[in-house]
Amino acid sequence: MADLLNSPAAWGLALVQGLLFLLAAPLLTAWVRRVKARLQNRRGAPLLQPYRDLYKLFAKEAMVARTTSGLFLAAPYIVFGSTLLAGAVVPLLAVNLPTAAIADVIVLAGFFALGRFFLTLAGMDAGTAFGGMGASREMLVSALAEPALLMAVFTLAMTAHSTNLSSVVAYQLDAGLVLRPSYLFALLGLVLVAIAETGRIPVDNPATHLELTMIHEAMILEYSGRHLALMEGAAQLKLMIYGVLISNIFFPWGIATEFTPAALLLGLVAITAKLALLGVLLAVAETVLAKMRLFRAPEFLNMALLFSVLGLLSHVILEVGA
């Protein structure tokens, strides 16, 4: 660990990876939207549309409700910063980067929780009914999603004997192809959690701006201009992080283990292909499924928790032996 931490090249690569996260996140969102549009027989917006939207939002003046406090202005930066930090920790192109040592997967969940805390407070700050509604629902969803998330992660950690994401991925690569029942369940659990946490159908609808059942959009209703851009950017990053987590933990093949240009290029191609495929799957799921009533959401998350628990149990019973 020590030699890696002192290597400037490795830090530089980590920085590049972080920037890549930042730049690629809107693209993934655009990709999902595009595929979804095609599935629904629409042409859909071009892949660069989110970048244009963000640029436009940054150039506009910000409107701030007079009923808000200073927290409202600070929240977008904290939400965006914590999400970006979470992204920096996840292995995107290569394992063994020094940033992976900053935080393990539990801290990653902590970053998300920090962002969510300020997001919900900002939603409540204006004092409007929608804001409170959104905040209340977001906390409900996250409260039920968090144990499922950590339980799924624990299953992986018990197998790899580590909560460090980079170590988990490296362990997977070393072990080669092993069919583990626990990984199957952990994968299913994590997918369900990701859907709930990133506000996709059937838990929340990312395409809505006025719906009584909206969650995420209800909290950022009062935001405009650059603040809204930061909030949107954070949401896109979060989708990207979950996508990378799922694809690199369960299907790590292709990720670079050494820092040569060829390996890194392969890593880039691999992760692009994995994310593109995942995006298609998400778009298909969003097209076939209908959004649930709010009070069905707990059932959905209970399902995720059940998957995670079964993953853990099948790990203990079937995989370790005694």
Partner: protein
Amino acid sequence: MSITQLSLLEQAVFVLAALVLFTSFALLGQARLLSTIHLFAWQGLALALVSSLVATATNEPHLYLSALLTLSLKALLIPWMLHRLVRRLELERHAEPLRHPVMVMLAGTALVIFSYWIVLPIERLELAATRNIIAISLAVILIGLLIMVMRRQAVIKVIGFMSMENGLFLAAVAATHGMPLVVELGVAFDVLIAAVLFGVFFFHISESIESLDVDRLNRLRARDKS
């Protein structure tokens, strides 16, 4: 013995065994009657796959036969019969949500851990791996019983009963590479007969109390007294 030491085929058996356990949980939590029947069919399919995989892994051809039997009987015939029954009783839209789903799921989880705890002391088997599958099948049996306890709908009770039989079958396939073919045929025949008999009973029950909610059978007692 760790899973990494096994062949891919055996690992696949483990994955399927875990899936069987999952279908048991799904049966426990599923509210809709028709979906429950479909889930039961999936469980049968997973069992058939386990059976054929074990047959390939151990070179025991008679297991292919039992796989075929399982597939035709538990994945196709019985679900089809139940399906037809439900349609004739006009119960397609019937749904019975669990009262406290979280509590019931917790109970199911506890049953899994309990069966593991029960099986742990068994050390005389040649493979520790098989012992672990026995734990899973015991859990499937216990959850089947739990389904029969928790659900009021008679058809679901029968499905619970059949999934108990599935658990037994899983144990037999995994631990001793299947029962003698004669026994297996006998059991399969019994299950089939049971399914038919249950079907006949349902008609009578639903005719006499106009529902398949077994709790309502209590009223018969009250009527007797009066």
